[in-house]
Point group: C2
């Protein structure tokens, strides 16, 4: 296979070139005192952190270390419900107890956004023993937590750190049209997927810390435990490269892209079929069918046929992530693809009005009781499970983590009671052809639940 395919051979040859890292003075990610220490220091300066750690295991490992380093077993962490699975995995690994707080539903966008400061304050009052607050901002759709500064203030009043999963916002704070960054708004620990919105290699991410509320030593120790003892130099170098691009380019780095995005949005106003919505992050375009005939999944499939690879789709939207490299040609291609889809495939459209209620399926209590997801508890203490049809699962307790991916936010986690809405949503996602992780039955017909005693 590799021999017959010159493109594959060339690509693999390039891998060899970039991975040629056996040079002196390479430093050690786990005990940096040379080039890596300097690169991390420059990144801390650039992002206005006191301390920055380069991550070679993605934002995943940053969430695991920041959460695991802040709450020990049975200690409470207050967490926004609609977080990336890695935040819940952190609680599973550390055995901390999670108080989930519900996000606000934003009617206009038809999406769950961030949590309100008031809800966090109430959770902190109810659970004064809590060790940390964890929120996600922005989400996959580019929606920022509007009251982040107030949330930070509430956490600090309670003497605990605010940890922010800013995986999708590494560019925040670097242009007047972007929201301010979580660090600027007072967060104590911030995790960024540098590779998502800045030019770094996949799995390249950063963990920024500021202030003295976060236990740096415990966080660092976890990073040493969780990350490879042979970290990838191409990934680390690409993080330094992304920092350098940002440092030298500053806000001008994004000006050209924003200009062409503005033009695209303006042009699409006259498109009777497809609309585009921008929430807080102007680099994230949410395309949707104004006529409610095509779901996001179908629209995504149509765009793929036109050679346009999108970030994600849900029942309503197709999300496109622009970058500082997005140019006029990219968005003209997108515009003409949308016209093509409109004209060329009317037969594939279907009426299915009620699926556009989109995403309104996570309905936890506003503030949940503490939930222990302790993964390493002895098996004798774990519950027996049975398999039931998804349609019959409402009211039962899930034994599985069920994760529509992307965006990777668990619809259900082990130990959570399955609401009728969640069961319905899971069935709908399955029928719409969404990719669902974590569930044993790959066809998503059945789900494992905890057997009643």
């Amino acid at each position: 296979m590799y021999q017959q395919d010159p493109a594959a051979a060339a690509w693999l040859g390039a891998i060899g070139v970039v991975d040629a890292t056996e040079l002196p003075g390479l430093d050690d990610l786990h005990e940096p005192e040379g080039a890596i220490e300097e690169a991390q220091r420059l990144a801390a300066e650039c992002f206005q952190a006191d301390r920055t750690f380069f991550l070679v295991g993605g934002s995943t490992v940053g969430n695991l270390a920041a959460i695991g380093g802040s709450a020990a077993r049975d200690e409470i962490i207050i967490m926004q419900r609609n977080v990336h699975k890695s935040a819940i995995h952190a609680a599973m690994l550390s055995g901390s107890s999670v108080v989930f707080v519900a996000p606000e539903y934003e009617e206009k966008a038809g999406l769950y956004g961030g949590v309100r400061a008031e809800t966090i304050a109430e959770a902190l009052q109810t659970y004064p023993q809590a060790k940390a607050v964890f929120v996600t901002s922005p989400n996959y759709y580019g929606m920022a937590v509007r009251e982040l500064e107030r949330i930070a203030a509430h956490a600090h009043d309670a003497g605990v750190p605010l940890i922010v999963d800013e995986a999708h916002g590494a560019h925040f704070g670097f242009h007047s049209r972007f929201p301010r960054s979580a660090l600027q708004l007072g967060a104590d620990a911030v995790i960024q997927s540098t590779h998502k919105m800045l030019p770094a290699m996949t799995m390249g991410a950063m963990l920024h810390l500021q202030g003295d509320r976060i236990n740096i030593e415990r966080v660092q120790r976890l990073l040493r435990m969780l990350q490879s003892s042979s970290p990838s130099y191409p990934i680390m170098a690409s993080l330094d490269w992304a920092r350098w691009k940002l440092h030298t380019g500053q806000s001008a780095l994004f000006d050209d892209s924003l200009t062409v995005i503005d033009q695209f949005v303006k042009d699409l106003e006259s498109n009777e079929c497809y609309g585009v919505r921008i929430l807080d992050d102007p680099m994230k375009l949410l395309l949707y069918d104004r006529t409610k005939k095509l779901t996001g999944y179908v629209l995504q499939a149509e765009l793929t046929k036109q050679g346009i690879y999108t970030e994600m789709a849900d029942e309503r939207y197709v999300v496109l992530a622009c970058s500082c490299a997005t140019d006029k040609q990219d968005l003209e291609h997108l515009g003409s693809a949308l016209r093509e889809i409109h004209q060329g495939h009317p037969s594939e459209k279907k009426e299915n009005g009620d699926i556009f209620s989109n995403n309104k399926y996570i309905l936890p209590p506003s503030i949940s009781p503490p939930i222990s997801l302790d993964y390493f508890a002895r098996r004798s203490e774990t519950k027996r499970t049975i398999t039931v049809n998804v349609e019959q699962s409402a009211g039962m307790v899930s034994a599985e983590m069920v994760i529509p991916y992307p965006p990777g936010i668990p619809l259900l986690f082990p130990g959570e009671t399955i609401t009728q809405e969640a069961a319905d949503q899971l069935a709908r996602l399955r029928d719409a052809g969404a990719s669902v992780q974590g569930i044993k039955d790959r066809a998503v017909r059945t789900i494992e639940v905890v057997q009643s005693p």
Copy 2:
């Protein structure tokens, strides 16, 4: 910096090329059913496993998942004492209790090797509730555990899986001159750093499973929790490439390298100053000063000056890892570098006889009592620590994990009583300029110990 340096710019450009992965049909490492599933299946066939998982977080994540998936909190795992830090980290994260078994000291090589089957059998009899056995084979020096097949049989008699850290032995079993692989010898779970001895990118590794003693579901769940939700495609592709090279090349892949290695070994016989030792793995060359004038550290530094980058050094040896790409020119360069060092730097040699006792510092009981390293225990339950001079630390209980790196095998772990030998060895390593990870005092003058009540 990047703008002025065309080499850096070209290298970073190549990174961009290999990381261009946004193509359809890319599959999902965490729920593979396309290209990744096929690549993993082909790897399982090639390495004779029932099931193979590609790892993008190195052997580190393989050890964490295999150990964490086999023993829950307070459950016992029987572990060779001289393991890679990631094995001990696994016990720290999962909270399992470790029964350490001492390795055998091999007088001729002056190195600790593997454990004996008899010792494992005795540990299993003493702790019949143990959930798994974990050993490392081969070690950094290319020494294989000689009685691995018998160890597997003892584990299986006791109904528990044998997990083998074969990080340095991905090539084992593929040539008549290599030792048989751990899978061939009956291991249930085997972790290989494909990037070390085969042509894969750094952090590219594999976890192979066979039989039904290992809890595949728990291992896989941990892999999903610990590895990035945006895994690196270049790393995954390089694993498939390495498998393909092995599959198409088979033992002939190594013939040329072995021929030039044999010639190098023969040539060095006449060198009155430097000798080379090969233990079980003919791809690992252990260079040493026959006259006992240069430590491995000094010899390594001299080789670096000659442009030869070695795998690791200790007090006695410099370890060189050859690969299937090692050619005549490489080893001629090494030979002439050794002649150069012999002739050119007589003034830098120093007499220091007793440091060549090398490595004989881990002196645990043959079988330790179960030790809990539980990292996520509440802080209120953790002990208070004080800082003492390394020279005064014997008899105290270490609060730090102290890891000479490479090879990354902890000299001390938290909770371990510091023997006089360990304290002496730590001081010697410091004075010899060895790199030591994990210890807070980077100058290695002091160490944190548990305060007596």
